[in-house]
């Protein structure tokens, strides 16, 4: 944090993400579907781990309820 190329952009992002996670949860969309992490370009292994972990999380959660809603709409 604070190491943003644009000074404080990530501070702003972090606030929004904190809000959005809770809003999603209240709307019935698992908040784990949104993740925000800071990984610098020098931290390749952290990035890979993070992505693999996120993929696993999403797989375990199954398809997004939004997708199902969209499918119903189209039908």
């Amino acid at each position: 944090m604070g190491d943003c190329h644009y000074l404080y952009g990530n501070v702003a992002t972090e606030k929004r993400v904190r809000f959005l996670k809770k809003l999603l949860a209240f709307s019935g969309i698992e908040e784990e579907r949104l993740r925000c992490k800071w990984v610098s370009s020098a931290e390749a292994s952290e990035f890979v781990e993070e992505m693999q972990d996120f993929t696993e999380t999403l797989r375990a959660l199954g398809p997004s309820p939004l997708k199902q809603a969209g499918a119903q709409r189209a039908a």
């Binding site: 190329h5 644009y6 000074l7 404080y8 952009g9 702003a12 929004r16």
Partner: protein
């Protein structure tokens, strides 16, 4: 997708997109099927020309882009190759040469993001490259031509701080015929070198060394030196700063400059409460320098303790130069009196570079003793002795001594945070100023037109401070030796028709680029100050603030192409 939807996302008419896929020798083509990607690109909507190149950035590749622009009347160019950070400017200017607006260029990185990260997965890498190309093409369709922003430049420079770094910058800038205003808050220029005895590896008296530079600076007619003066206020932006200087209680001085150099240095830590520091029997390296300089130094048995107040919780960094200073002074003491005993207690020795490495071995040869201590069990200073435990073997040692010298780190100056606010430049957690990028832009601040050198950034040796000062002069030259300032057009804009003047964006801009205009009741962007971060665009509730080149339409078309 229903009919109406299609209509809305439909691409603008008269699109003539050219796509160039780079093999990068075998760097890309070795790990994915560039021909397949090219074939695929040709099939995308709006694309009228697609070509695979061995090296798109080579003379031949560039000629091909330019030829295609004229032969196929291209009005968008997409290059799928390496990192836009390094190559985008080249491709953009080549497009401009061929008569296409450079902002209609889009770049896709299929090297880092495909051939490198998916080296073993030929088929998947190829598929991903196709996706990325499709996204690039989708965005390119909605790109808009832009005009670079131009502004005037004042060929004058303000240098804040008259230490060796600031003086070196001033000297070099003056030699390039730029007008320099040097501001030093003390009554005398020279910085820390005024208090230091002898310099290594230069082997000259510090005062003489810096005096030569001061004289040289003073002799130049295009340098104005303000001693005992500080900067009170700064307004404006790159090319056009308005500065208010204040000398003591005197009248304020107004100056106008195009660039600003920060060279405010650092100070050695005053080790209150550490190792029984009393300024007499337990002193700092700086105090030792003074004793050596005045010929007051008399001690026979000296112990130096390294990392005093450095690399500890709350001040984690290594000050880099203290080992060199200790070794320098230890060797000097030995030179004066070969019978004197000098012991250096250290955690790690930081003697980087061949010159310092040699100094270390010379000092050992002269009989300076070195011992490691364990930071968990730091030495104790008691009754004319220094007690410490040798790590690994665990032997407890006592060294009798009549002088203890603490090697304390350089720390940020008190006024640093005030200056940081004045100039809107960031500091790191230790209070040193923070450069724009440690590797790519080490002498620049993220704020355009402001540069830094010397210990203000991080503890530096004289040679480093001087070369950074010279480096800064050349960075300033790259800005001020142009007729006018040309900056990227990819900045924020606020639609005066829709802005409701809610000030939602105002405090979000990290660069202070947004201003409320009461007469119009709306906010406006200062396009020179704006760095195009997009914070305002993300906040504006009425979508009035947008970032050129990253408008919702452009980004969403790219995202929807996934």
């Amino acid at each position: 997708m229903n009919e109406k939807r299609k209509e809305k996302t439909e691409q603008p008419d008269d699109l003539r997109i050219g796509v160039f896929i780079c093999d990068c020798g075998s760097n890309i083509a070795g790990h994915l099927d560039c021909s397949a990607v090219t074939e695929y690109a040709a099939s995308l909507p709006g694309v009228v020309f697609a070509k695979e190149n061995l090296y798109t950035c080579s003379e031949a590749g560039i000629t091909e882009i330019q030829k295609a622009i004229s032969e196929h009347e291209l009005n968008r160019v997409v290059v799928a190759s390496c990192s836009p950070r390094t190559h985008q400017p080249l491709f953009q200017s080549s497009c401009a040469e061929a008569g296409m607006n450079p902002y209609l260029f889009e770049m896709v990185n299929i090297r880092d993001q495909c051939s490198w990260v998916h080296m073993q997965e030929h088929a998947e890498a190829t598929e991903k490259a196709k996706e990325l190309v499709r996204m690039g093409v989708a965005k390119a369709a909605f790109l808009e031509p832009q005009k670079d922003i131009e502004a005037s430049l004042l060929s004058r420079v303000l240098v804040i701080g008259g230490g060796v770094a600031g003086l070196s910058a001033a000297e070099a800038l003056a030699d390039m015929a730029l007008e320099v205003i040097l501001v030093e808050k003390e009554p005398k220029a020279g910085g820390l070198l005024n208090q230091i005895n002898q310099l290594v590896p230069e082997g000259v008296k510090a005062a003489e060394y810096v005096e030569r530079i001061i004289e040289s600076v003073n002799s130049k007619s295009n340098v104005t030196v303000h001693l005992g003066t500080e900067v009170k206020a700064i307004a404006g932006y790159i090319g056009n700063y308005e500065i208010t200087l204040q000398r003591g209680e005197g009248e304020a001085i107004q100056e106008k400059v195009g660039c600003i150099v920060v060279a405010t240095g650092a100070v050695p830590l005053e080790p209150a409460g550490l190792y029984g520091y009393d300024g007499e029997r337990v002193i700092t390296q700086m105090q030792l320098e003074e004793q050596l300089l005045n010929g007051q130094f008399k001690a026979q048995r000296v112990v130096m303790i390294q990392c005093a107040g450095a690399r500890v919780p709350g001040r984690e960094y290594c000050s880099r130069i203290c080992c060199m200073i200790a070794v320098k002074n230890a060797a000097l003491i030995k030179d004066q009196d070969p019978e004197a005993q000098v012991h250096i207690l250290y955690r790690d020795i930081q003697m980087y570079g061949t010159e310092k490495e040699r100094m270390l071995w010379d000092a050992r040869g002269k009989g300076v003793r070195f011992d490691v201590y364990d930071p968990e069990k730091p030495p104790e200073v008691k009754d004319g002795q220094v007690l410490f435990e040798q790590p690994i073997v665990g032997t407890k040692r006592q060294i009798p001594c009549d002088l203890v010298v603490l090697s304390t780190p350089l720390v940020a100056r008190e006024g640093a945070s005030a200056l940081s606010q004045l100039l809107r430049i960031p500091m790191d957690q230790n209070g040193f100023f923070l450069e724009a990028h440690a590797k790519l832009r080490p002498l620049d601040f993220a704020t355009d037109g402001v540069f830094l050198c010397g210990s203000a950034r991080y503890p530096a040796t004289v040679a480093e401070a001087r070369s950074q000062g010279l480096g800064v002069a050349s960075r300033v030259a790259t800005v001020l030796f142009k007729d006018k300032l040309v900056t990227s057009a990819l900045v924020a804009e606020i639609d005066p028709e829709t802005c409701v003047g809610c000030l939602g964006c105002l405090d979000m801009c990290p660069y202070g680029a947004i201003e409320f205009v009461p007469e119009k009741g709306i906010c406006e962007v200062n396009t020179i100050l704006c760095k195009g971060c997009g914070c305002c665009a993300a906040t504006c509730p009425s979508q009035s603030a947008t970032l050129k080149g990253f408008k919702p339409k452009q980004l969403l078309s790219q995202i929807r192409a996934i």
